[in-house]
């Protein structure tokens, strides 16, 4: 009885080993089924998903105009205090005073990419961009001002 068990153990052991080895051998001879991405080398062709949440940006059009009204909805929605909206009062063409955004300060080092600010924005002024290579040598470089210098609000956005 002991001998029979011993032989069946050896047989099962060898057969299960060969089964596993066959699987490994299959992939060894079929390199096309390997899906490893050669990341730093394939930077030129690397395409991330369009919705990938990498950082918050403020899109500007060709006239250097954005859609931010300075309503601070994003600042209220943010759970970590990542966004700070600094406003100024501007005099428009009709001579009326109007609140406008002076600087939308975005601190990438605090951001968790939760997308709540983008959802909260009533005028779709900010959105998520799929940039993910954020490493810098100095932490202060991660604090960004999203509106470009000299930019102003697009016509017709309240």
């Amino acid at each position: 009885m002991f001998l029979k068990d011993y032989i069946s153990d050896v047989y099962n052991g060898v057969s299960s080993l060969l089964k596993g080895m066959r699987k490994t051998g299959y992939y060894f001879t079929h390199p096309k089924e390997i899906i490893t991405e050669q990341y730093p080398d394939n930077r030129a062709t690397l395409k991330l998903a369009d919705r990938f949440k990498g950082e918050v940006i403020m899109p500007h059009d060709e006239n250097n105009e954005h859609a931010c009204t300075g309503c601070t909805a994003c600042e209220i929605a943010c759970p970590n205090g990542t966004i700070k909206v600094v406003t100024k009062s501007e005099v428009n063409a009709e001579g009326k005073k109007k609140k406008a955004v002076d600087a939308l300060v975005y601190r990438l080092e605090l951001c968790t990419m939760c997308n709540l600010c983008v959802v909260a924005c009533p005028s779709d002024a900010i959105k998520m961009a799929p940039n993910f290579e954020h490493s810098v040598f100095d932490r202060t470089k991660l604090t960004k001002i999203l509106n470009k210098p000299g930019s102003k609000i697009r016509e017709g956005i309240e």
């Binding site: 699987k23 899906i35 990419m113 997308n115």
Partner: protein
């Protein structure tokens, strides 16, 4: 409270009966994070295991008290990061229940599909990590190949691979990606073809079987008394699937079996998870073609305020029962919040399960518990 000398015990001195105390962790390749086990050994036999927690405590419960009902959901992704979707669903369901928000059917369907995808991804990672703990390196890559397809689906639709924050009170943050259904179908096709590879490599492997069968046995009575849930309790024959007991979203409409094993050993826990993945595929197959058209988010007020009172919602994560308990004073933030995490209760049974076994079996026992340390510590 422990002081420093008590936590890190001197391992050179023998105890009263020739016992040896070994610190396993916080930095140990098999503890998957910063779990610190103080193992009391008699020779090679385990006499007692004492887990020390607190290395990754971030006071998430306290943090949530200062966040509004929209904001606190993203924090729960950071607890059990392998089933972040399911944690988010629990919080959203609680707010919806408290405020009586109606969720559109489309959102419910998508939530259920994403929850099941998350469960599969979590179990895939677990197979790879567990096999690696036991010395098999290859299954890790095979498991991650299928998991990569799920993370790509998540990346397309939710915009992130791990901490999605896609579920909001009332539905979803935005609509699903146009390619969502096709990609999920492609995943199901590949998964069905490739899942047999795990059988060849892991399940039928003699070394794996002899290392897991009869190791770390947990009886049904003990599983209940330790508060174990999820695959750990189901492997001991306890009916505890929240999707069956208290269905949420569209789980009441779909057909699936609650996987039960009775052996209670490490191999049974392994088999429960393998079979659960197939059940998840079954759920997704029933729902993926019938996602109804319509809104993806219901009508909610701008500022969410839970009425005064106490609220509790539980869901079934990949590890077991996850509960959210909120005491509300009627304001915009919770007055007190408590999370019931499955990993904490499952870990408490480890000492009982491993007592009397050899130290090599501890790897198999701990591996099949599927511990995620940020979930235990919060």
């Amino acid at each position: 409270m422990y002081n420093q000398t008590e936590i890190i015990k001197d391992t050179t001195e023998l105890g009263p009966e020739g016992e040896l105390v070994v610190n396993m962790g916080p930095q140990h390749p098999a503890t998957h994070g910063v779990l610190h086990l103080v193992v009391t050994l008699n020779g090679e036999t385990i006499k007692k295991i004492e887990p020390h927690l607190g290395y990754i405590h971030r006071s998430i419960e306290k943090m949530c008290e200062s966040l509004t009902y929209r904001q606190f959901i993203y924090v729960t992704s950071r607890m059990d990061y392998l089933s972040s979707h399911i944690n988010n669903t629990a919080c959203a369901l609680l707010v919806e229940k408290g405020m009586q928000i109606e969720v559109p059917e489309r959102a419910q369907y998508v939530r259920t599909i994403l929850n099941e995808l998350t469960r599969i991804a979590s179990h895939e990672l677990w197979i790879g990590a567990m096999a690696m703990d036991l010395g098999a390196f290859t299954p890790f890559f095979y498991a991650f190949r299928e998991r990569e397809m799920i993370t790509e689906i998540m990346e397309d639709t939710c915009g992130a691979r791990l901490t999605m924050n896609y579920i909001v009170p009332g539905g979803l943050m935005y609509d699903i990606h146009p390619t969502f259904q096709n990609k999920v179908k492609a995943f199901i096709k590949q998964f069905k073809e490739k899942v047999v590879e795990y059988e060849d490599l892991v399940t039928n492997n003699v070394i794996f079987q002899s290392r897991t069968k009869g190791v770390g046995i947990l009886s049904a009575e003990d599983a209940i008394s330790f508060g174990c849930t999820g695959p750990v309790a189901r492997a001991s024959g306890v009916n505890c699937d929240i999707r069956k007991i208290a269905p949420y979203d569209v789980y009441a409409k779909v057909e699936f079996d609650e996987v039960i094993e009775t052996a209670g050993d490490s191999f049974a826990r392994y088999m429960v998870r393998i079979k659960e993945m197939n059940q998840s595929i079954r759920i997704i197959e029933q729902l993926i073609d019938t996602i109804p058209e319509g809104d993806f988010v219901g009508k909610t007020k701008n500022v969410l305020k839970l009425p005064k009172g106490e609220f509790y919602q539980r869901v079934e994560t990949a590890r077991g029962e996850f509960g959210v308990y909120i005491v509300s004073e009627g304001g915009t933030t919770p007055h007190r919040i408590k999370f019931r995490s499955p990993g904490f209760s499952n870990l408490s049974a480890l000492s009982h399960m491993a007592e009397g076994s050899k130290i090599g079996d501890l790897m198999a026992t701990m591996g099949t518990l599927d511990l995620v340390i940020p979930d235990i510590d919060r």
